[in-house]
Symmetry: C2
Subunit: 216 residues, 2 copies
């Protein structure tokens, strides 16, 4: 009975996700679902990404958080349109939440919509929100065993950012092993090594994003 | 309907949690539910804790993971009895999982049972497993905004470990602000600053645990 209901919930979510995807496609918006653990560095990465891309393409952001609007406030400071979704304790964003948030956006004017999901390496990967692609941020400080321990999110994501790469010398993170595990889980996955404090790898990441958006 | 079922699921969980708690109490076992984000350092902290306490009290460990037995293998190496629970993608441990795992343990011989939950700062806090107390590990590299962003887990936990404190100089983590937010959320919360690589704060943490177990 529990399983049956879970299927219904996911089924209903997938229906709305398909509606979202259709609208995004019609309006010419590319949508990225940005995921990762709490503190993997998603919001700082987003700030750096917006600083590089906001004068080239029109970007809007949806921020998912349990309760606060701390992240949305950070994005708003950059002059980028941002919609806050508070899940009231919920552990992921779902398609109906995105549908509702998009009602406040003029999608026809937007090239690239970035959805920063709730900080969680498990649940967000299970919910299609109608995005074009998923991206997962893994901080070096989280450890090189995380791809195999949390495989779904790495299988679902088109791209992984190995973030806080500047902290590599202070950890026992094995970059080679992590890359091998990622390629085993998802042979076509794109991997960037980034540091927002040292500005490493961000140009490559933003070039890649720009190409994704321009190819729409 | 969804909400109603969720209440039923939580209600059923709470019933089994109460049964677990009764059995733990009768057998004289103190149970800690150890939670935190992926990569906050739970397993390494556990290794260090076992090394300090295993000759003083009889400890057993239940390891919660989505798929692998990587963490259980690390604990087993220390000669400590360990039961692996694989949630097959599930984002938290619940009371029935613990009940089932405990069937393989001789509880009467155990003083202290440590349950390492799935790496997740959201969902595990919602599920009582029948523990005596919850502990949450927050890595310095996750950022000082996490207590207010993920309040439930810090409200529910009797103790917070600010872990990887050796990385403080390489981050913008504001220790004072994090401590103030923790005290606002949970005025009686106990806070330890720990580093497993530098062996900081571990004696104080283990002394505190030992007192909790001896006071049973």
């Amino acid at each position: 009975m529990e399983i049956k209901l879970m299927k219904n919930i996911l089924g209903a979510n997938d229906e709305v996700a398909a509606q979202n995807r259709k609208i995004f496609s019609e309006r010419g918006v590319v949508v990225m679902n940005l995921m990762g653990s709490p503190g993997s560095g998603k919001t700082t990465l987003l700030e750096k990404t917006l600083a590089r891309l906001a004068d080239k393409i029109k970007i809007a952001v949806i921020e998912g958080d349990l309760f606060t609007a701390k992240d949305a406030a950070r994005i708003e400071k950059l002059g980028v349109e941002v919609i806050q979704i508070n899940t009231a304790g919920g552990c992921h964003l779902d398609a109906p939440m995105i549908q509702k948030a998009c009602a406040s956006l003029n999608l026809a004017e937007i090239d690239f919509l970035i959805v920063e999901n709730v900080g969680n390496l498990v649940c967000p990967a299970e919910f299609d929100i109608g995005e074009n692609f998923k991206a997962v941020v893994l901080s070096i400080t989280e450890g090189d065993d995380k791809p195999l321990k949390y495989p779904l999110i790495f299988k679902e994501s088109e791209v992984t950012l190995l973030n806080k790469i500047d902290l590599l010398p202070f950890t026992n993170f094995d970059l080679k092993s992590a890359r091998e595990d990622l390629m085993t889980l998802h042979p076509s996955i794109k991997i960037f090594e980034t540091s927002c404090t040292k500005e490493t790898g961000l140009d490559e990441w933003c070039d890649w994003l720009l190409k994704k958006v321009e190819a729409r």
